[in-house]
């Protein structure tokens, strides 16, 4: 269990499609713990995907607990091989990313989702998320597919310099 260095642009791992985990074994659980520890190491970071710590596997963690924009909240949510089952309702909001320091951007994402994946116990789980939690899930799944928010900004005028680090 460790806080791992976070890769930043232009690291090529960030632009690769990550591989399926398939079976949740001890190595996958260590990866999950490292994702949680690394996310917790940055205040106000609410999600982290495995490629951001250099592991090209389909795993991420989110936790939107206490966030003012959150509606649904599943606490600390680790999912392997997650896929979107259903998505509704576009919504625009500004995002930043640990892997893209200095910039933020306005991104349109679905505001409610049904997402399915494997838990750290290897159990198939289906969760319904909305509002900020849905945005976090989509941002992390994008990482697993090699996409950054920069690939999704709604227009060039929707890209901003990040002014505050918290």
């Amino acid at each position: 269990m460790a806080v791992r260095p976070v890769l930043e642009l232009p690291d090529p791992i960030l632009k690769q499609r990550s591989e399926e985990v398939g079976r949740v074994d001890d190595a996958a659980r260590v990866l999950a713990a490292d994702l949680v520890d690394t996310m917790r190491a940055t205040v106000a970071c609410v999600g982290l995907a495995a490629p951001q710590i250099g592991v090209s596997l389909r795993a991420f963690v989110i936790d939107v607990t206490g966030h003012r924009k959150a509606r649904s909240c599943h606490g600390e949510l680790v999912l392997f091989d997650a896929e979107i089952v259903a998505a509704h309702g576009p919504e625009l909001a500004r995002e930043g990313c640990l892997s893209v320091p200095h910039l933020t951007g306005d991104v349109v994402r679905a505001s409610s989702l049904v997402v399915r994946g494997l838990t750290v116990d290897g159990v198939d789980r289906v969760v319904e998320v909305d509002a900020f939690e849905a945005r976090a899930v989509l941002h992390e799944i994008d990482h697993l597919d090699g996409y950054l928010f920069l690939d999704r900004v709604s227009s060039h005028e929707a890209l901003f310099r990040r002014k505050v680090y918290r």
Partner: protein, 184 residues
């Protein structure tokens, strides 16, 4: 490395960016930062350029005279002083919390100055500003979007009230809202 600020403005047409930036490539310069847009049919470029030793602002201006003549551009090149924290290709985060100010209403002279003067008086730094006139010629609507950085200790609610008063005097509407991003 020295930095120069370059501005180029001319009637919009294809090839302006390519022609101007070719001069920088040929002189071994690196584009540090830029903003380019169309203003009322004029393409306006603003760039901060890294200049290698031995290349002077005058050399670049002379080299830009060719494309400026071909494309009917007004070009200026000026040496700029080093800005603390401005190096390394990345922008140092400015101090203060980022907020957005939207101003919109019937077009009339003095809107930008009125709002900017109030912000300056409060120690608020404008970090980005763009304006557009929209709507038909019979009822032009002026829209101004600002990114501002609030100094420590300022009360956003009090600032909002001052802005509302100033906007009312100008006959426009204003809103102030935080523009912080979530780190996902």
């Amino acid at each position: 490395m020295a930095h120069v600020a370059v501005t180029a403005v001319g009637a919009d047409r294809p090839g302006i960016v390519a022609s101007v930036t070719r001069v920088f490539v040929e002189h071994g310069c690196n584009l540090e930062d830029s903003s380019m847009t169309i203003l009322r049919g004029l393409f306006a470029m603003m760039l901060v350029v890294d200049v290698p030793a031995g290349v002077r602002a005058e050399d670049l201006e002379a080299a830009l005279a060719g494309p400026a003549a071909d494309l009917d551009l007004v070009v200026a090149v000026r040496l700029v002083p080093e800005v603390a924290g401005g190096g390394g290709g990345a922008d140092a985060p400015a101090g203060g919390d980022p907020w957005a100010v939207s101003v919109y209403g019937a077009d009339r002279p003095g809107i930008v100055h009125g709002i900017a003067d109030l912000l300056a008086g409060q120690g608020v730094n404008i970090t980005d500003l763009s304006t557009r006139v929209v709507g038909g010629p019979d009822r032009p609507v002026y829209a101004m979007l600002l990114e501002v950085s609030l100094p420590a200790g300022i009360d956003p609610e009090a600032l909002g009230r001052r802005l509302t008063t100033a906007a009312a005097d100008l006959g426009v509407d204003v809103s102030l809202h935080p523009s912080d991003a979530d780190i996902l």
